[in-house]
């Protein structure tokens, strides 16, 4: 029913070509600055801080370190400190104070192989409970760290002895609705998705989506689990309704095919948890809206509650690049502002308009 001019538009506001491969970009909370993390051609790691000024980005600071950086998050720090937690190619987890980056605030050799993915919870005034960081690595393990505890993880999800390990490609925190509850969701390259409950230290749910899992994200970390988006290879993503768990069938889901290539990222809008953007391997971005079904749960043949999945509708799409867009981050302060980085060594600041009218 919306005319073409009423749909949200994705506008590329600023483009900046970089001289290194950039793997991740994140907004610094409560500011108009963002960080880019990556890998110089000479094999060293780099963190750059940019500020959006007028119609351009200005480089504020550049930090070079020995190992290339793969991923980073601000999720576990307080709003005053704003420390960046990073995972690098050597398997180390470091937390940096960007004002004084010579020595990390916290450092540990988290994994034996590259840290593919990282997420943080408990900081930024979002949610209750201890600040924690989870990392997933190519060595098949997922570890949860507390920045106040040195050297040992507070939780370690590892394969049984003798089991061949699969690469963990993505992790996400969720269900952090009070001090005790926490869940970690991990996606692996053989299509496994596992949901770990940190309160009970057990696997709460696992499933296999038949394609390597590139990204998992809960729509909100700090509420009772509501929705989980899992994106994968072969251009598919699944949206799971996490409110009702059936003992055998697990969670209900709806899946969509998009991008015609690997879907690298899915990110929910911080201001509206039913809108999310997916980034594809052909350099395209799709903006989706999830619609809930009339009844979110129903009784199956045996009278046990099971969930009902809704539907995802495409609001807008745009192609920005020919290379995969590897990272995407919405600004928590300004609705519609997001930064994305692609493997064509550019970082782009985008504006998505009319999101309040969706």
């Amino acid at each position: 029913m919306s005319t073409p001019l009423e749909k949200p538009q994705i506008i590329s506001h600023i483009q900046k070509g970089l001289n290194y491969t950039v793997f991740d970009s994140k907004w610094i909370p409560c500011s108009a600055k963002f960080v880019c993390m990556g890998n110089f051609a000479r094999g060293t790691g780099v963190i750059q801080i940019y500020e959006v000024q007028q119609g351009e980005v200005q480089l504020i600071k550049e930090i070079e370190k020995a190992k290339p950086f793969k991923c980073g998050t601000f999720g576990a720090t307080s709003l005053q400190k704003r420390h960046l937690a990073t995972g690098d190619f050597g398997g180390n987890l470091n937390i940096w104070n960007l004002e004084a980056p010579e020595i990390p605030v916290y450092s540990v050799k988290a994994h034996t192989e590259i840290v593919n993915t990282i997420d943080g919870v408990g900081g930024l005034g979002i949610g209750d409970g201890a600040p924690e960081i989870v990392t997933g690595s190519r060595d098949g393990t997922v570890k949860v760290w507390d920045p106040r505890q040195k050297d040992t993880p507070v939780a370690n999800m590892e394969p049984i002895e003798g089991e061949t390990k699969r690469d963990c490609w993505t992790v996400a925190f969720g269900n952090a609705c009070n001090d005790q509850d926490r869940c970690v969701c991990a996606g692996y390259d053989n299509g496994d998705i596992k949901l770990f409950d940190l309160r009970n230290m057990s696997v709460r749910w696992e499933t296999n989506i038949k394609n390597g899992v590139c990204c998992v994200e809960f729509d909100r970390k700090d509420i009772n689990m509501n929705k989980l988006v899992a994106t994968s290879l072969e251009g598919k993503f699944h949206v799971f309704d996490m409110r009702t768990q059936h003992p055998t069938k697990g969670f209900a889901s709806v899946s969509e095919k998009a991008h015609k290539s690997t879907v690298w990222q899915a990110r929910h809008l911080p201001q509206n948890r039913d809108i999310f953007m997916t980034a594809g391997g052909a350099g395209s971005l799709h903006l989706w809206k999830y619609e809930y079904p009339a009844q979110r749960s129903k009784k199956d043949a045996d009278g046990i509650e099971m969930g009902v999945a809704g539907s995802a509708s495409l609001l807008q799409n745009v192609t920005l690049s020919t290379q995969p867009i590897a990272s995407l981050d919405w600004s928590p302060d300004k609705q519609g502002l997001c930064v994305c980085s692609a493997f064509d060594q550019t970082v782009r600041v985008l504006i998505v308009t009319k999101l309040n009218r969706v």
Partner: protein, 412 residues
Amino acid sequence: MPLIVKDYSWTQTEALVYINVPLKGVTVGKVDIFSTDEYLKVNFPPFLFEVILYAPIDDNKSVAKIGNGVVIFTLYKKEESIWENLALMNVDKETLQEKREHAVLKAQEKAVADAEAKAIKKREDEKYALETMMKLEDEERKRIEEKKEWERRRATEELELWKEKQRKEEEEKKAQQRREIQKLENEKKKKNETKTHSKSVPECPRKRTMTKTGKSEEISLPAPRSAGNIKIQFTPRVFPTALRESRVAEEEAWLKKQADARRAVNVDVSELKDLKEEERNPDWLKEKGKKLFATQNYLAAVNAYNLAIQLNHKLPILYLNRAACHLKLRNLHKAIEDSSKALDLLTPPVADNADARAKAHIRRGTAFCELELYAEGLQDYQAALKIDPLNETIHADAEKIREIIQGTVPDS
């Protein structure tokens, strides 16, 4: 022979000439008029009327009206004068002929010129249409761009405003903190003046300062979680690569083949009764063959592989290794046969058997080149390169073969 019409009539003024030619009952459709500036001909079989005009007329302006049994010409003179006669008198046959031909030529030229003019006009029209279309589309595009620009500018302004607000808030907060610290410092000073001893007292106001300024760092964060360990199991997967739906069918087919090949094949017991237990195992024979190859005992290696293949003719690695032995023994045809058999068994092509396939191609390529079948050899090397593009030796060898081919071609 057409009948010449002579009973025409004509009148003139200073600028015009009127000629009246009776049609003598011929239908209008059969009348053909041919005219140039100096020559006029009306052909209505079986009659013919032609006249070389006294002076030139303007052919484009003149008109001819056919109807009512007559053709009436209204000719505009080029020069205003009174003609003595309609036609040029005293013309001999030759001049007449000349004039006729000249007239025809002129008419042709005129026709060509007309056609050209028409074509040019058509092109002009098309160009004009195209240009207007392009202009319309440009305008449309500009409109959309402007809308986008406007949105972008609006968003930038909002961003800048918000940044300003942030900055102001930051400054205010800092100022407030400073003020509070000042206030408490003063209070502390007063307190210190009254209580000169007891070191513990100064501690308390400081603590209160901390909480008052709102730097509530540790609003009692829960203790770090007690360490836990969760053991997990993965959905089994043979290949080290990531799972892709589109590749599942191929992978299944390859795995099934491998499984079939590993199952022991029925052996004809009578023939091989004298074999020891271990010699009946194709894997053991393969290892033996490898060792013999390493010590350069190629004939014995071939024997070992022969026996292994007799026991199990579905293992591609046996053919591959036997091909290598044959190469060393210069049994080139056998080497080609074995490499081909190995490649056949190595379908479908998955990442698992890439190495083996590359080796098979290289060995077959070498055999071809030794037989001087360079074209086939090059094909095989290129196939090997496709599988393993980073291998320097394959590149170097492929280059050598190309040079040999180019070297031999001019000779033949």
